[in-house]
């Protein structure tokens, strides 16, 4: 019983960060339909920005978090303007190849800049964990969970309640009509990609101090993010959120009670099972965006 409680708490906390990774990608992959291989690199970028501000510049932890997200949004906007804008209307293969190139280039740039040695980032949280009977959880992870939840709610509100969100949904539903209605298409493309990238950087900046920052940290994050988006249904923010938590619970309980050797396999097993029954994913309605 104690073990189950600990597993549940672990899965909730892990699920929060998975969901955050998922909603960033669902904006780009789900709504924009760009197979974004740089998502994991933006995650790593967020973690390294955190390292730079907190460990090298000595900035306040919370301020560093904000700066890391802002620079992530900036890098995302740059990728969109420099690479993707030229490819608008190109077929999916071309875009995919360019994004694979960008992924490799970014990862090697990280390695070149920061070297292969993993970097740890210190936090203002107490070193001893919060202990509640048989359960114990670190303050840092609790903080990540709270911030991630807030960001998920904020993103949902932005997409569904704000004018910018409406313009985003309109643009990717029917670009020409949106343009005729006076939506600035280029700005919306850049904003959507930048927002998704900013969320990935936020996930990296939040989790960097929990784990460590290292150049290839984005690979696994990318893989999980794609799995979550497909599980939840392309373009659905509630879907990506649910997908993140389902994946986390599956991994925790699978590793705890079946076999830890198949921890990552468990999640994918579930995805296959769900896609067999619901090929569009859990939450996506046919061809509906947003």
């Amino acid at each position: 019983m104690d073990q189950l409680l600990q597993h549940t708490v672990n899965a909730l906390i892990l699920g929060g960060s998975y969901a955050l990774l998922g909603i960033g990608l669902t904006l780009i992959f789900g709504i924009m339909r760009v197979v974004n291989f740089t998502h994991g690199e933006l995650y790593a970028f967020g973690a390294y920005m955190m390292y730079m501000w907190v460990m090298l510049a000595g900035t306040n932890f919370y301020l560093a978090l904000v700066l890391a997200v802002i620079t992530g949004i900036g890098l995302g906007a740059m990728i969109e303007v420099v690479l993707l804008r030229r490819l608008r209307g190109a077929d999916i293969d071309t875009t995919m190849l360019v994004m694979i190139g960008a992924w490799i280039a970014l990862q090697n740039l990280e390695q070149f800049t920061w070297s292969g040695v993993a970097k740890s980032i210190s936090t203002p949280f107490p070193a001893s964990p919060l202990v509640l009977g048989p359960i114990s959880v670190s303050w840092n992870r609790l903080f990540v969970f709270v911030v991630a939840s807030a960001l998920i709610v904020a993103t949902y509100a932005l997409i569904h309640k704000s004018k910018l969100g409406k313009a985003m949904r309109a643009t990717f539903q029917d670009r020409d009509t949106a343009a005729l209605m006076g939506v600035e298409i280029n700005r919306i493309h850049t904003a959507t990609f930048a927002l998704g990238s900013g969320l990935a950087a936020a996930a990296g900046a939040l989790l960097g101090p929990v784990f460590v920052a290292y150049p290839s940290m984005g690979d696994l994050a990318s893989l999980k993010a794609f799995a979550i988006v497909i599980l939840g249904g392309l373009g659905s923010i509630p879907g990506a959120t649910a997908g993140g938590f389902i994946l986390a619970f599956m991994e925790e309980l699978g590793a705890g009670y079946v076999s830890s050797g198949f921890r990552d396999g468990m999640g994918f097993l579930l995805i296959i099972a769900i896609l067999l029954v619901k090929p569009t994913g859990l939450f996506a309605r046919r061809e509906r965006i947003g």
């Binding site: 672990n10 292969g116 705890g256 990552d264």
Partner: protein
């Protein structure tokens, strides 16, 4: 325009000729290490140690009157790339001997190529038993096998009062091999074996495994993986308040890096290492160890890399001794000579014994193994 082009071509030709001439005056050694990817940090340290050895040997006049020249290739922590680097080094650089390839999985991937091209390889880090027991006569390993490590540790089960032990290992040849050997040694010493858990080599979150281990009732947890994952495990074990004392095996656990990165979570943990740069006077060949530490610090290399870097130094010195004994830079002659080398290494006296099926034995060194403990952010001898 034409003049510029022909001028450039002439320059290029000259450069090529010069390169060729230099090549004839040197003996090449091929090195394949993970310089990028998951094991990048460790691979770079080994390469740095190897380059220090190259520099020192060349300063002392080289080998057979020629300069040693390391050709270092990046195997990207990827078995497919490891094979590609070995083929490139053998076919295009024409090296008569290799050193590599850090992880057991990478080394095992390269091994069939050694037989195919009949080129020997010095294995500096890998510890999976399979490497020297699969009948590949071109393998010369200076690092200890997991079995040797477990054997060296065996008397400590009693000394450290271990009654029940859990195991957590990275899911590859290195981790699974170590878990198997250490759990067998535990059983042989009357220690109960609790849960045996694994983790993906790329994983960063071990909460599920640790939650299971937390409630297993064991007093000790053996962890086998590289330093990056160990750092995270120590931090997360503290978060979940694991009651077990943690012992890491495999020697790729860089205690300095753990102290720097896991901080308080590293205190009270034990680590099996193959070189103790904190007290170089304590090792068998203290003069060599001190010289190496001094050279490493002169270059301002990362102190946390010493426990990996020494492997590169020892490996290149063993290869240089074999080339010198062979009298020529020829793969067959070097293979033969390697069997008889005796080198004063940082990890003690290096020489090879036979392992594996008879007639096709691989060569294995019997290195020293040390247990250290981290206390108050300092490394202490055990």
């Amino acid at each position: 325009m034409t003049r510029t082009v022909s001028g450039m071509l002439a320059g290029l030709a000259l450069a090529l000729l010069a390169g060729h001439a230099a090549a004839q005056d040197s003996i090449k050694i091929g090195v394949t290490q993970p310089l990028t990817g998951a094991f990048a940090a460790s691979g770079n340290y080994v390469a740095q140690g190897a380059k220090l050895a190259e520099e020192e040997i060349n300063k002392a006049g080289g080998v057979l009157g020629k300069k040693l020249q390391l050709v270092i290739e990046d195997n990207k922590s990827n078995p497919t790339e490891a094979v590609a680097t070995a083929e490139k080094l053998i076919n295009s650089d024409k090296v008569p001997v290799l050193m590599g390839a850090w992880s057991s999985t990478l080394t095992l991937a390269v091994m069939p190529k050694l037989e195919e091209y009949q080129v020997p390889m010095l294995v500096e880090t890998s510890s999976s038993g399979k490497i020297t027991t699969s009948g590949n006569p071109f393998v010369f390993r200076i690092s200890p096998t997991s079995e040797m490590e477990a054997k060296a540790f065996a008397p400590l089960f009693k000394t450290m009062n271990i009654k029940k032990a859990d195991f957590l290992a990275t899911n590859n040849d290195f981790g699974l091999g170590a878990s198997k050997e250490f759990s067998q040694a535990a059983k042989a010493n009357g220690v109960e074996v609790g849960v045996m858990e694994t983790m993906d080599p790329k994983a960063t979150d071990f909460s599920a495994q640790l939650a299971k281990i937390k409630s297993s009732g064991a007093d000790t947890l053996f962890v086998t993986t590289a330093v990056e994952q160990i750092t995270l495990i120590l931090k997360q074990a503290k978060d979940q308040q694991l009651p077990q004392k943690i012992i890491t095996t495999g020697g790729s656990n860089s205690p300095d890096q753990l102290i720097a990165q896991a901080g308080d979570a590293a205190n009270g943990t034990y680590h099996l290492v193959f070189f103790t740069p904190w007290f170089p006077e304590a090792v068998k060949n203290a003069d060599v160890a001190k010289q190496f530490v001094a050279l490493w610090n002169d270059k301002k290399f990362n102190v946390g890399g010493l426990t990996e870097g020494f492997r590169g130094w020892d490996g290149i010195h063993v290869i240089a001794a074999a080339i010198s004994a062979a009298g020529k830079a020829d793969a067959a002659a070097i293979t033969k000579a390697l069997w008889d080398v005796k080198v004063k290494g940082i990890n003690g006296d290096i020489s090879f014994i036979k392992q594996g099926p008879s007639g096709k034995e691989s060569a294995q060194n019997v290195p020293s193994v040390y247990l250290i403990k981290i206390e108050n952010g300092k490394v202490t001898r055990q």
